[in-house]
């Protein structure tokens, strides 16, 4: 069997005395689209930050592409991040740069390509997300869906091996949601990426992802394909997947803003 591209083992992450993630182990296969799901504040974004090396685990290990993230120096970590594209919530486009320059930024920073080559690559990525005409626009003049597509183009401009998506579909209208969802799938397949998506949108995930991890109460409560999870009888999984109010997952407890505090 092929080695997983991301391997998390017995991961424990605490903030102060509060345990955010408790004994989490995950294997993420190369080339797959994987969702990390769970109620708000459960620590989904924290997992992305642990994968990208913004946070370090208190116990356990995170390996990306065979490299132990917590053992890397700052320079090695930055080198490792060149293989990881990240799409943050709302896109996080640079507001002082045009759409073109936003996408070109990683190329200008990390390569010695000439203007013509940069322009070709940026325009190719912009076309692939259906926004070839928007290069000269400033980010504030884009709609939410367009900004997310530009951010996707920027996330994959360096041809990374892994792309991490933090709530890529939140706040979009149904058409934009389907468009961005389809783009994630197309980009993943065309570029041979591995995509990790943090979300709580069950409906979209059923259509989009190959494999799901569900977190609740700081623990990994289930994993499997969306079809398998939909028929999982575990009360907490059933409650989350079907959006029931009653069940073992307490709304009050889970609403503690762990992810917000991580910033």
């Amino acid at each position: 069997m092929q080695d997983p591209i991301i391997r998390i083992r017995k991961l424990v992450y605490r903030r102060g005395t509060k345990v955010i993630l408790d004994n989490i182990s995950m294997d993420i296969k190369r080339g797959s689209i994987v969702a990390i799901m769970g109620p708000s504040g459960v620590g989904k974004t924290t997992i992305l930050r642990l994968i990208s090396g913004q946070l370090y685990p208190n116990r356990g290990t995170v390996e990306v592409n065979g490299k132990l993230i917590s053992s890397l120096s700052r320079r090695e970590l930055y080198a490792c991040r060149k293989n990881i594209g990240v799409l943050l919530q709302d896109g996080a486009l640079f507001t002082d740069l045009t759409v073109f320059e936003n996408i070109a930024a990683p190329l200008r920073e990390h390569t010695d390509l000439g203007e013509e080559e940069i322009s070709d690559r940026v325009m190719a990525k912009l076309s692939s997300v259906g926004l070839a005409e928007t290069g000269d626009l400033m980010p504030h003049s884009l709609s939410g869906g367009m900004a997310r597509r530009v951010a996707l183009a920027r996330a994959v401009i360096m041809n990374p091996k892994i792309v991490l998506f933090d709530e890529p579909l939140t706040g979009l209208d149904p058409i934009a949601m389907s468009t961005v969802g389809r783009l994630i799938r197309v980009t993943n397949n065309q570029l041979g990426l591995t995509s990790v998506i943090v979300t709580h949108n069950v409906e979209q995930m059923k259509k989009l992802v190959d494999y799901c991890f569900i977190l609740a109460g700081a623990k990994l409560i289930a994993e499997g394909t969306p079809q398998v999870l939909m028929h999982n009888d575990e009360p907490a999984v059933d409650q989350f997947m079907n959006g029931r109010v009653e069940g073992p997952i307490s709304f009050n407890l889970q609403s503690s803003p762990a992810d917000a505090n991580a910033r």
């Binding site: 991040r81 943050l88 709302d90 996080a92 920073e109």
Partner: protein, 256 residues
């Protein structure tokens, strides 16, 4: 025991923050690389924070020149020395008022906008996105704004002084009927390039560095919330104004 510790921490916080700011400055200067990107972004920022502050600087300079000459003529007339007005206005402008008033206006106009802009970039995850793309935000965001501040302020001070002299001309010659030959003659013979003009330029470069360092530092470490950005902006204008006045005294005592 814990109370004591927290009190001590509160007392030591300004010292810790000064050290933190110093480290930030070293990190920023250490990231300087002679490359086209830095030149372009510094020029862009010089336009945004320098050129766009020009209108407020020019208007203020003109009226400062008018009021200075009004006060000077009023006082000098009592001693029959009103023909010395250009000398008094020139000396006080080039040595003190030009650099200090321009710096205070610059702190209010450009310092706040830089702090708010960087704070907002942090609140909207742009700084985080940059780190995740392995781009150093200190080099990409903070450094060009800092350099632009150091470049802009001496230029703005020169413009402030020029317009203040114009204000003095309009009031002294146009309104009070002073002889233009005496006005310009006294100014030319009494103001020295190295002592008065260059001294002012040095001061304004230091003030530009102080204001832009504080603005980028507070912006960069602002809490990523609306309130955090507001606090960073307020602290920038308050602290940089006070520091400009303190450093003005220190530098004057060395330059004189």
């Amino acid at each position: 025991m814990t109370k004591d510790r927290s009190k001590r921490r509160k007392l030591l916080a300004p010292i810790a923050e000064t050290g933190h700011c110093g480290v930030f400055l070293v990190r920023m200067l250490g990231s300087i690389r002679l490359e086209r990107e830095l030149l372009i972004s510094t020029l862009q920022q010089t336009y945004l924070i320098g050129a766009r502050s020009l209108v407020i600087i020019l208007i203020s300079g003109f009226f400062v020149g008018m009021v200075l000459s009004l006060q000077a003529i009023n006082a000098l007339q009592q001693f029959g020395a009103s023909d010395q007005v250009s000398l008094l206005v020139g000396k006080s402008l080039f040595r003190e008022l030009g650099p200090v008033l321009t710096a205070l206006l610059f702190a209010g106009r450009a310092g706040t906008s830089v702090a708010a802009e960087i704070g907002l970039m942090k609140a909207t995850s742009q700084i985080e996105a940059m780190q995740l793309m392995a781009i150093d935000p200190v080099r990409r965001i903070a450094l060009p704004r800092f350099l632009a501040g150091v470049i802009s302020l001496p230029l703005l001070t020169a413009m402030f002084n020029a317009f203040a002299i114009m204000g003095a001309v309009v009031f002294s010659i146009g309104v009070m009927g002073l002889d233009p030959g005496i006005f310009w003659g006294k100014l030319q013979s009494g103001i020295y390039f190295s002592e008065d003009f260059v001294g002012g330029v040095w001061k304004s470069m230091v003030f530009g560095g102080i204001i832009s360092l504080i603005a980028v530092f507070f912006g960069y470490y602002a809490k990523p919330t609306g309130e955090g950005v507001g606090t960073a902006t307020t602290r920038t204008v308050v602290l940089s104004s006070v520091l400009v006045l303190i450093f003005d005294f220190i530098m004057t005592s060395f330059l004189l």
